[in-house]
Subunit: 321 residues, 2 copies
């Protein structure tokens, strides 16, 4: 793990935040960069196994995955795993599978049938480069390969089939109707309509929150967290997932590129259900700070070992540049 160079005081002074006393903040940019590299290499390795397959499909999957992704979900898996002593080789298949699932969801989301976004992370969306048919199939392939990756014999030897089965079940649940896909449907149906804050929360909890929540839990479980510890990580990740989305909504509202790299102010233009559009910008900012505080509170018992998770919470809500 990286040397801790505290940026904690600076942030506290700048934002007037209450930060638990026992917490220090590591140089999160360095941590994120290192873990991103780790995950990118693993993703490349896994993807290479598909290289002999239809070239167009392989290229579209690769285009969707590289470069530009911040690897937020897989980093969270790795960070939560590390906290409990989990090994990278056990964590990476699941971390990467979660990134494959996230990537499929944004490829499909950008299609004209859904959000109709031409740009993703400032580059043409997958369907603008490969056509809608190949983009659709590349998404399908990424989702399917995620499950193929998690259930492979090497992974089974490392973690044992019983645990893997439970993790795969949890991931499928988070990605499916009670999670991500269900959230996307409610989001689609809310477009252009008057919605209340409960509906916005409901959409966020499912559309982005469920996978983030699961990414953290899966890491903690692979690391060997005790039930009590897992409950703390679960709550941390729930707050983090909401904080992530509230902050993205704020960035979108003020016309800055969002974490997911969507075209500026796209959500606002479309009349999507967002925090600032429902409660106003100031209240949304207050909510982000409140969620950060909740995140940090859950981590208190873990002491300094949880610094990467603290750093991630700061990063998400304040986007340390």
């Amino acid at each position: 793990m990286e040397k801790h160079t505290s940026i904690h005081t600076a942030i506290r002074e700048k934002r007037g935040l209450e930060v638990p006393r026992d917490a220090t903040v590591i140089d999160i940019r360095e941590y994120l960069k290192e873990r991103k590299n780790l995950i990118d290499h693993a993703l490349e390795r896994y993807l290479k196994e598909c290289k002999h397959q239809p070239q167009t499909l392989y290229r579209a999957m690769q285009y969707g995955l590289f470069p530009g992704g911040k690897r937020f979900r897989p980093i969270l898996t790795v960070a939560c795993g590390e906290l409990f002593g989990g090994k990278h080789k056990s964590l990476l298949p699941f971390a990467c599978a979660l990134e494959l699932i996230h990537t499929y969801s944004i490829i499909h989301d950008d299609l004209p049938a859904l959000d109709d976004d031409d740009l993703r992370r400032g580059e043409p969306a997958t369907h603008k480069v490969f056509g809608e048919g190949i983009a659709l199939l590349a998404g399908d392939a990424l989702l399917t390969e995620a499950f193929h990756l998690m259930t492979g014999p090497q992974v089974a030897r490392l973690l044992g089939p019983a645990l893997i089965l439970q993790l795969v079940h949890e991931i499928a649940r988070a990605a499916g109707i009670v999670g991500m896909v269900g959230g996307q449907v409610v989001d689609l149906e809310a477009e252009g309509r008057e919605v209340d804050i409960a509906t916005v929360d409901y959409i966020h909890v499912r559309k982005t929150g469920a996978l983030i929540h699961t990414a953290a839990r899966v890491g903690a479980r692979i690391g060997g967290a005790l039930p009590k510890e897992l409950r703390r990580i679960s709550r941390y990740a729930e707050f983090l997932g909401l904080a992530f989305q509230v902050t993205d909504d704020i960035l979108d509202a003020v016309g800055l590129p969002t974490t997911t790299g969507q075209t500026e102010a796209k959500d606002r233009e479309k009349g999507k259900a967002t925090y600032p559009s429902v409660v106003g910008l100031a209240a949304a900012k207050g909510r982000a700070q409140e969620l950060l505080h909740h995140c940090l509170k859950e981590l208190q018992v873990f002491g300094k070992d949880a610094d990467p998770l603290r750093g991630i919470a700061y990063y998400v809500t304040q986007r340390v540049q």
Copy 2:
């Protein structure tokens, strides 16, 4: 299992086929109807668990699944499982998961981005009823829920996590880039181009063959087939998968509704790679007969117990009405 009423002699006389001496043919229509009912009830039961979710999504998933599907893949799983003494309650989660995967693939396939089919089994395609966005998400949900279903705790208690993990891995492989999705890409790329018989075989083996092959293998493995028996079932299912597609191509070429219920002669109109378009109608018919013969040969060692699988092979190549 149904009483065996032999239609074997009639078929042999009519078609001049060589059928192994020890084989009898059961009333396959009755068998298929009963197993289809069994599967439909199980599918309804599983799907009900999603009922409290976004109603539109639930209705679109249900619309894609019911009614009209012949349940070919899940019936094959059940029939192969029964041959080795497999219990229905152990076979049905996997049989149904395979039908969910098949249904997702046809919903996506019918979208304007791919085949742009307005009709499926004579009824408006899912996207014509629910819109493209919901159809896309219903497909995504069906694929995801298939993995959720197979990895649930009840299934784990019945079959043990080690076997389940292997089966899920095999199914993900068959549905992914080296199987169904890969085949769809090659199919898409071959559209309107001059292709040889090797390419047609390649497309069929992957696009439809892989899932059919796996459906049979999964059933046999759950039933407890020995490695030697599993190899026979594998070969049977490979021939069956090809026979299935050759026959569908023939039905499409002569303008009859195909098994998958696509609009008449749609493939031909689109310049899709099919057997009759490459080798001619007579040679395609000859190939179907040859494949039926291979199927029956693999079943010989199993005696009368394999009658349902024989019946399925006849049904596929001759479409007993």
